[in-house]
Amino acid sequence: MKVNFNRTALADALALVTSAVPSRTPKPILKCVRITADKKEVRIYATDLEVGINHLITEVQVEQPGDIVIPADRLSAIVRESVDEVLAMQADEGTCQITGADSHFTVYGQQASQYPAVPGFDGEADIEINLENLQLGIEQSLFAAAKESTRYALNGVLWEIKGKKLSLVATDGRRLARAKVNLLSAPGEKIEAKKLVIPAKTMALLDKIGSSDKDVVAVKLVDNQIIISCENVVISSNLIEGNFPKYEDIIPSDYTKKLTLPTEAVASAVRRSALLTSEESRGIKLSVGKKSLIFSCRAPETGDAQIELPVEHKVEPIEIGFSPQFFIDALRVIKTPEFDLELDQPDRPGLIKSGANFIYVLMPINLG
């Protein structure tokens, strides 16, 4: 294999691709990326056997097609530290020579034939989404997914396709986020009304794709895998087995107390009121007064804090406790200047809504 790369293009591709490379694995070959040179273009592959990615680079000159598998961390370090505009890569029999203007590296690779297959995207897409919208949806849902739950489905994000809408839902049992994303066209029959649970790692990877506002994401379901293609990138991922809880039942629909609040000001108030929380008393209290909203916290050993936010409203007074971190997590991803907060009894969850697409259910804390 003999290829001349544009270094910036290669660096960009590697930055994305290497995030799929597992940091710890008993199989050394998975710590490598595979680079395949065709007549005119080069593809870089990485996989951890659950999530796979391949990135097409067109800003190359291929002098001789070929195949090489080399350690991802070494390669990306070389490419990152280089100053040249063009890097030449020549590979044969498991060694790879990388040459810049004043530099020369020889990196030992592995057998390309032993690298696990990473699927490509062939055929028709089942659904199509605008990348920017999808990434917003991911940002607004992924943070709520459980990190290490024994209920496996909670470690992923639910994709629910209904009509021309895709709902992304994530929950860890204490809060739940749902973001709706518009599809560009009606979904294919195979995927319509299906419920897929996609691992968090795949979602994070999707979120990292560099976007321009016109990029379209094509999604396809093959056996147990979902294959997602966007411009030069194809991501394939296993699905998670298991039932996602019936989340619709959790989203309350009978609430009458509705406050419209400024996002920035509330975020600041929550952050400040949480400054004095301690290990034992982590919650903050939200008191709806007559013409204001009071955020407060009291910890026996540190002291107490109180932030008052004047708000016009017609809601009866109520006091309710929340985890400040969970509250802020949601406010951080709200893009509108105002959001709706709906409440009922202090023992029922709070409901945060922003625009038509974002809903966040937040379980209260008993501060008694």
Binding site: P26, K27, L49, P116, L239, E241, G242
Partner: protein, 370 residues
């Protein structure tokens, strides 16, 4: 390699085959039997068959095709749906970098490599197979963490626990799995296999017999011997010393044994870098005890049924001396002492103390006549 090439385990394989034909294959198995009789081999071939895309079926004997993509990846050790679980995986767990290889199967390995992987659907094949080696080293909390998955794994999932000591598994674990027993391997086959390695005939015969049906152990010893670990030489000297062993020699002999274990283990560690060093030292210590047991056993055989073949036929004279000094009943008592020491090796007792104690015990009675 495929299932039909596995020998001496017809009964176990028959059970597995019948279950497959009747479409009643269990989702969780315990393969139990002595060390080195082919449990892992069978588990691997079974996995290969279950993962294979075009399994063959000759005379109702299902087997992997050995040629499809799945089989080739399997042989290359990179099948994405085959997950071997072993305790050395600890260094690949979240904060495992700094950890040395443990003696027990760490719960982190079970959590990160088994429990966390089960819910992901298979990538290439229709199944996802987990093979847990050394399942007897699962402690109670690891086993408890497994219960839910053993009870009700997803339909694509098969879990095989390999276990040399079934009593170490909790009843709750056992009741969730189908147990399949593996028996010892015929001595002649072991001799045949050892001959292929190029080992000298008298060593071949001795090791084959000492292994007592454990082909894996015999092969390991042969490998050590070929790497000049001088195991056979150690054995000869040990039996020489035992024949004329006196109470006063105990500490010196224990020291000598300790040194032998160290040097043998050093060779072994070089050969087998993936296994934990503690494990290797323990296994070496166990070989020494096995040799002592073999000598005592021979002494018994010699005095009761002299026509029967013995382990140490190459040192018959020494065994006869030993037999003169120990009557069968006493020898049997000493053997049980040896087995007790064997258990201590597993229990973190200082190795030198074990041997000192053992040797003092072997001599303590005045029935050893000088």
């Amino acid at each position: 390699m495929s299932l039909k090439e596995i020998f001496c385990q017809d009964k176990a394989i028959d059970i597995l085959q019948k279950a497959l034909v009747a479409d009643k294959a269990a989702h969780a198995y315990i393969f139990t039997g002595p060390e080195g009789v082919g449990k892992l081999k069978t588990a691997k071939q079974r996995a290969k068959l279950l993962l294979c895309k075009n399994p063959t079926n000759e005379n109702n004997f299902a087997d992997s095709c050995d040629s499809c993509e799945s089989c080739q990846l399997f042989d290359a050790g990179s099948h994405p749906d085959f997950n071997p679980i072993y305790k050395e995986l600890i260094q690949f767990t979240k904060d495992g970098k700094t950890k040395t290889t443990p003696v027990d199967m760490p719960i982190d390995v079970i959590r990160e490599f088994l429990i966390a992987k089960v819910p992901t659907k298979p990538t290439l094949s229709k199944k996802r197979i987990f093979v847990v080696t050394e399942a007897e080293k699962l402690n109670a909390s690891s086993q408890n963490s497994l219960l839910k998955i053993l009870e009700e794994p997803p339909e694509y999932c098969t879990i095989i626990l390999l276990c040399t000591r079934l009593e170490k598994l909790l009843p709750t674990t056992k009741s969730r799995c189908q147990t399949i027993r593996f028996g010892p391997i015929d001595e002649n086959i072991i001799i045949e296999k050892l001959k292929q390695t190029g080992l000298a005939p008298e060593k071949t015969e001795y090791f084959a017999r000492l292994a007592q049906g454990s082909l894996g152990q015999a092969e390991q010893w042969a490998k050590l011997e070929l790497a000049e670990a001088n195991l056979y030489e150690t054995k000869k000297q040990l039996i020489d010393s035992l024949a004329q062993y006196q109470y006063a020699d105990a500490l010196e002999l224990a020291q000598w044994i300790s040194n032998q274990i160290k040097s043998t283990a050093a060779v072994w560690i070089k050969l087998d870098e993936n296994t934990s060093t503690t494990d290797i030292k323990r296994r070496t210590a166990k070989i020494i005890i096995q040799i002592i047991i073999s000598a005592l056993h021979d002494a018994m055989t010699c005095s009761v049924t002299p026509q029967k073949p013995i382990f140490n036929s190459d040192q018959l004279q020494k065994i006869k001396i030993l037999a003169n000094r120990l009557d069968p009943e006493l020898a049997a008592e000493k053997i049980s002492v040896c087995y007790k020491s064997m258990r201590w090796i597993e229990a973190n007792v200082n190795e030198k103390l074990i041997f000192e104690q053992l040797l003092l015990n072997l001599a303590v009675s005045d029935t050893i006549k000088l």
